[in-house]
């Protein structure tokens, strides 16, 4: 074996090993993040965190009950706004559309999907906060709902289109009208994929902070209804982490652990259980 061939073999093995190292390093980032949060958040989480309101600045203790409720409220409202638009719009794209309109809608959705979240926040501010003259859960939900639309829309379209033709033709042959075919045959056949995509969209916006900074704003107390400034977990993590107080840092870690746990849990559930046998689209 010539020296040159040995050298080429060596280079090959070395470089291939390096790609493995790259993969391990990348995946390790996830476990480092998880481990660090478990370590720091696990020691600072307690029952008060879930049940108490934030204490005044300077006092230790207290929790983030209001932020947990606030996040829940805003996510619920965001889903009520974003999911129907995305879902029904997706049905239009997959089932009813002509060429022209569909490509415009698709293009708009792709554009919306790429908009930086802080810019979505500016838009929600100028269209919801300014007219009503105060920060509100509504405005935050509008911003997050907007971010859910493109994912829901495109995945609904994709999964509806992947339903086999035979199912469609079978229903039509039995005399069902088009919308009845869609409602009773096609959507049920595709619902697991669509639900997976909606859950992933929800998990994504659940961690969004930037669009909430000047829409839902924040609140140190409970907010009633949907028209008051509302605390959310991600914004609380941000304000607590950049604050100078030791006890707030502790609570930021706890909130980070809760948020990350929630987001990863939804992701794992959606990707493993719900989507068994379906290719999950990436956002």
């Amino acid at each position: 074996m010539g020296a040159r061939l040995r050298w080429r073999r060596f280079v090959s093995n070395f470089m291939l090993t390096m790609t493995g190292v790259c993969a391990v390093v990348s995946v390790m980032a996830l476990f480092l993040i998880l481990g660090y949060l478990l370590f720091n958040g696990g020691t600072s989480i307690n029952w008060d965190f879930f049940t108490k309101l934030p204490k005044p600045v300077g006092e230790t203790g207290g929790g983030m009950a209001n932020a947990i409720v606030g996040s829940g409220k805003i996510l619920l409202l965001a889903s009520l706004f974003g999911v129907p638009i995305g879902f029904l719009g997706g049905i239009y794209l997959a089932e009813f559309s002509g060429r022209g309109m569909a490509s415009v809608v698709r293009y708009a959705a792709d554009l919306l999907n790429g908009v930086p979240s802080i810019v979505i926040g500016i838009f929600a501010y100028s269209i919801v906060v300014l007219p009503f003259k105060h920060f509100s859960a509504f405005a935050g939900a509008f911003a997050l709902g907007m971010m859910m639309i493109p994912i829901t829309l495109r995945s609904t379209e994709e999964f509806l289109k992947s339903v086999p033709r035979m199912l469609r033709e079978g229903a039509m042959a039995l005399g069902a009208s088009k919308w009845k075919t869609i409602a009773t045959v096609i959507v049920p056949a595709a619902y697991r994929g669509i639900l997976t995509a909606i859950l992933l969209a929800l998990a994504r916006v659940a961690g969004e902070t930037a669009p909430l900074l000047f829409t839902a704003f924040g609140n140190r107390y409970e907010s009633h209804g949907f028209s008051q400034p509302t605390a959310t977990l991600p914004v609380m993590i941000y304000t607590y982490a950049v604050s100078p107080y030791e006890d707030w840092h502790r609570q930021a870690w706890a909130a980070g652990l809760v948020l990350l746990g929630l987001v990863l849990m939804i992701n794992i559930l959606a990707r493993t259980i719900l989507s068994r046998g379906i290719a999950v689209p990436r956002s």
């Binding site: 470089m15 790259c22 990348s26 239009y92 930086p116 704003f217 941000y238 948020l259 987001v263």
Partner: protein, 321 residues
Amino acid sequence: MPSAGPVTGSRSFFSKLRDGDEIARLVTLLFAATVVLITAALVWELWVNSALPRQKFGLHFFMTQTWDPIMDDFGALPFIYGTLVTSVVALLISVPLGIGAAIFLAELAPPRISDTLQFFIDLLAAVPSVIYGLLGVFTVVPLMRTVIYPALNKPFGFLPIFKGPSYGVGFFTAGIVLAIMVIPYIISVSREVLLSVPRDQREAALALGSTRWESTWKVVVPFARTGIMGSIFLALARALGETMAVTMVIGNTPKIAASLFAPGYSIAAVIANEFTEATGDLYLQSLIALGLALFLLTFILNGLARILIVVTTQKGSGVTA
């Protein structure tokens, strides 16, 4: 009942309306049109609400360095500089790492291991940016001050980019955090693009006597080149628009500094920090103008990325020339 002829098309509008088909079409059309409407409104609002700085500063807005809310003088250059520098640092770190990992996942790893690792990569992509910020503030910033800064400043301190003191926060710190955030995008897209390279390309290279690495690096990767470029553009668009993680570790100082260890500012960060306290229309509209610039930048990059990725995956699935 019409027993002959095509089922659709021959029926009148009203019979379709009675079946519900036409109603369903109109209702879903309405929702689809909402998507277009919202997107159009977004662009419109950004444009209209940034009119003041456009009139007062024109293109100078993007070329001057002063950011002085008290004197009502606004220039965006420090933010543009910070956004670009942090993104470039992020790409310098994440591109080699991401492409390396993608090669491993697509070319080397057995399918089961590859899928498992890809699952973890997808989870990494799902980690919220504020969590990256949290870890950035409490782990990367101290690490920068105590380990990375001395290691680079001592031997390379004569270079302008490694000169000067470090406060922990700064361009370099933000770049590192961004790098970890965009790696999943590079890996996922590059892996898919690499997997779409036809088998015969690899086999031909191996049959000609190339080693495994040579077939990968000189045949497969060039074949997927445009798609990999697409994944990098996608990552760049994400990095440019990223707000929270950068805001928390960049130092929030509107200055242009050659040193990567110096604190800086980015477009998204200044919007996040100053939007709610912006007094006066010109101040607020200057921030919105920054938002518009950011929007346009990511819009162009995302468009390019999509074209490149589609071109490559189609090339792989079609007949190879």
